[in-house]
């Protein structure tokens, strides 16, 4: 484990703001953002495109400078740390993978160990360990080059690479944004499995609400550089801070995907001690209908709601957390995004014969 912060790894952002200075004036990309990421928790930053998620995340490993406010890790201001050491102690995964095309898969995984000066044999062993962890049999994949992998496999390598030096903290910026929806769902489930095993402190950026519900211990919803709501997935469903939250969660595809799923199918039997004043919803309601119905109730300080059966008896019960997990599992991921990089022209400098 990184000597920089062995043990707990609590990240705190306090009143953090970011200005980008451009020729056409200054852009306020992040405005007064404060939140904490608990050690071992996965924190999702979600919001529409341009809402400042990436910028917020990149200030943590100082890929962007902090304009105002303070970011600390285990109580130490990131600005007081050597930037290169800081980054080597934090795993980093980005959407396009960013794998080095001229390194083999094993060498890609072992980049940070190499920067840290580990001996070759140990690097190799570590790489193989991690490839196995992310579901790429080392025998088959270690000596390939990134070009010879599918997009999903490349993302797995990206995750393995972030874990290589066993950093307690990992930053992930839309890590599964560029793979097809089916692979994406699979990668999300695997990340959950891996996270259960390795227990890292993770900041995870996405604009996909299903992904956020599935993975997030907590979700920070951002818009226009500010935090709109910071809470558990259940909090966001139960107690949305503003209509924007409801709209963002319920938007388009997300709930529509569940219009043939009914509450009765999901509800468990009513446990003892559920107070009578929780909302009661008909089991015949589809999930989107249930969402609209719930919006009419006061949902604060409630863990869940009752579901009535065909005879009208409130015999079933569903927690908001369960609902969130169902949402996370079933919401179709957002459109696959691709980055069209212009290939450099090898004949770029043309010659004049002499």
């Amino acid at each position: 484990m990184s000597p920089l912060w062995a043990g707990v790894s609590l990240i705190t952002l306090e009143h953090v703001s970011k200005n980008f200075d451009s020729p056409s004036g200054s852009v306020r990309a992040v405005e007064d953002v404060s939140f904490e990421v608990d050690a071992g928790a996965l924190h999702v930053l979600i919001g529409p495109s341009g809402s400042g998620k990436t910028t917020t995340m990149r200030m943590i490993n100082r890929l962007e400078t902090i304009s105002e406010g303070t970011i600390t890790i285990n109580g130490r201001d990131v600005r007081d740390l050597d930037v290169v050491e800081l980054r080597r102690a934090i795993g980093y995964v980005i959407q396009q993978g960013g794998l080095f095309p001229h390194f083999t898969v094993a060498d890609n995984v072992a980049v940070v160990p190499r920067l840290l000066g580990w001996p070759r044999a140990r690097r190799r062993q570590r790489a193989e360990e991690l490839l196995a962890l992310v579901g790429l049999p080392p025998k088959q994949f270690a000596d390939r080059f990134p070009r010879q992998l599918s997009g999903g496999q490349q993302q797995r390598v990206g995750v393995a690479r972030a874990l290589a030096a066993d950093p307690p903290i990992i930053l992930m910026d839309e890590p599964f944004g560029a793979v097809d929806p089916i692979t994406r769902k699979q990668l999300q489930r695997e990340l959950r499995r891996i996270q259960a095993e390795v227990q890292k402190t993770i900041v995870f950026v996405t604009h996909d609400i299903g992904e956020a519900f599935l993975l997030g211990d907590r979700i920070v919803l951002m818009a226009e550089g500010r935090i709109v709501q910071n809470g558990t997935p259940a909090d966001l469903l139960r107690n949305p801070a503003s209509p924007f939250v409801t709209e963002f969660i319920g938007e388009d595809r997300s709930l529509r995907a569940l219009q043939h799923t009914y509450l009765a199918e999901l509800a468990g039997s009513r446990p003892d001690g559920v107070p009578d004043d929780v909302p009661i919803l008909a089991g015949t309601l589809s999930i989107p209908q249930a969402g609209q119905e719930l919006a009419r109730h006061d949902r604060s300080n409630r863990e869940g709601f009752l579901v009535s059966d065909v005879s009208g008896r409130p015999s079933g019960y569903l927690t908001y957390q369960q609902l969130a997990t169902v949402l996370g599992e079933s919401i179709a991921p957002a459109e696959t995004m691709t980055s069209a990089e212009a290939a450099p022209d090898p004949e770029a400098a043309h010659v004049l014969p002499v």
Partner: protein, 218 residues
């Protein structure tokens, strides 16, 4: 123009083996040194250019304009400055070779996928490690294309260098022109043409071989 059959140039070369070797040596030396020096100047300059934002525009502008200047004009401009001989010729050739190598190195480094650079920085590479581990290897095919361009181009330019006393096969071409003697003319021209074409082919082959593994689909 009918003094001797053109194909007699082979006989002419056979009759003057020492001179042939000397001209070949002069030619190759002029090209080799100029390209080598140009590499040593152009690559650091290009790296610096990609590191300093304000430096990039003026430098690439100068290099692009430089590319437009006709080669003979560069040789011509050297004469009043440095006089005649091997050194002025070497100077002109070096300048001409710096341009494509510089431009291709800048383009090569700039062409490295931003995501890869970002990932490398995010993992904590120092500036120097970024350059040596990531940027230069990934730019190397484009850089090599620039060196190839410079080399083949300078084989031609070295021919013209005979005009300012630089030596090489241009000597025989000039002599052949002055004496209106096709065999001598071709004794200079054909070896230069063969040298240029074969160098191009060889470097093309080398380029294919030295591309870092992983950059080509295998």
């Amino acid at each position: 123009m009918r003094r001797g059959e053109p194909l007699d140039f082979i006989a002419y070369i056979r009759d003057h083996p020492e001179q042939f070797r000397e001209l070949l040596l002069e030619h190759v030396r002029l090209v080799g040194f100029s390209v080598l020096i140009a590499i040593l100047i152009a690559i650091p300059l290009a790296v610096l250019t990609t590191r300093l934002a304000w430096f990039e525009r003026p430098m690439t502008w100068i290099a692009n304009v430089g590319q437009t200047v006709p080669s003979l004009a560069i040789l011509g401009l050297t004469l009043p400055l440095l006089g005649i001989g091997f050194r002025p010729a070497l100077f002109a050739l070096t300048i001409k070779a710096v341009l494509p190598i510089f431009l291709n190195t800048v383009i090569g480094i700039r062409g490295v996928d931003r995501a890869i650079v970002d990932a490398a920085r995010g993992m904590g590479t120092s500036d120097r490690q970024l350059l040596w581990f990531v940027e230069l290897p990934l730019a190397s095919p484009v850089m090599f294309a620039g060196i190839q361009t410079a080399t083949v181009q300078n084989i031609g330019l070295a021919t013209l260098a005979a005009y300012i006393g630089g030596g090489g096969f241009g000597d025989w071409i000039l002599q052949g022109l002055a004496m209106v003697n096709p065999p001598i003319l071709l004794a200079g021209a054909v070896p230069v043409a063969v040298l240029a074409m074969s160098t191009e082919m060889i470097l093309r082959g080398v380029r294919r071989v030295i591309v870092p593994a992983g950059l080509t689909v295998t």
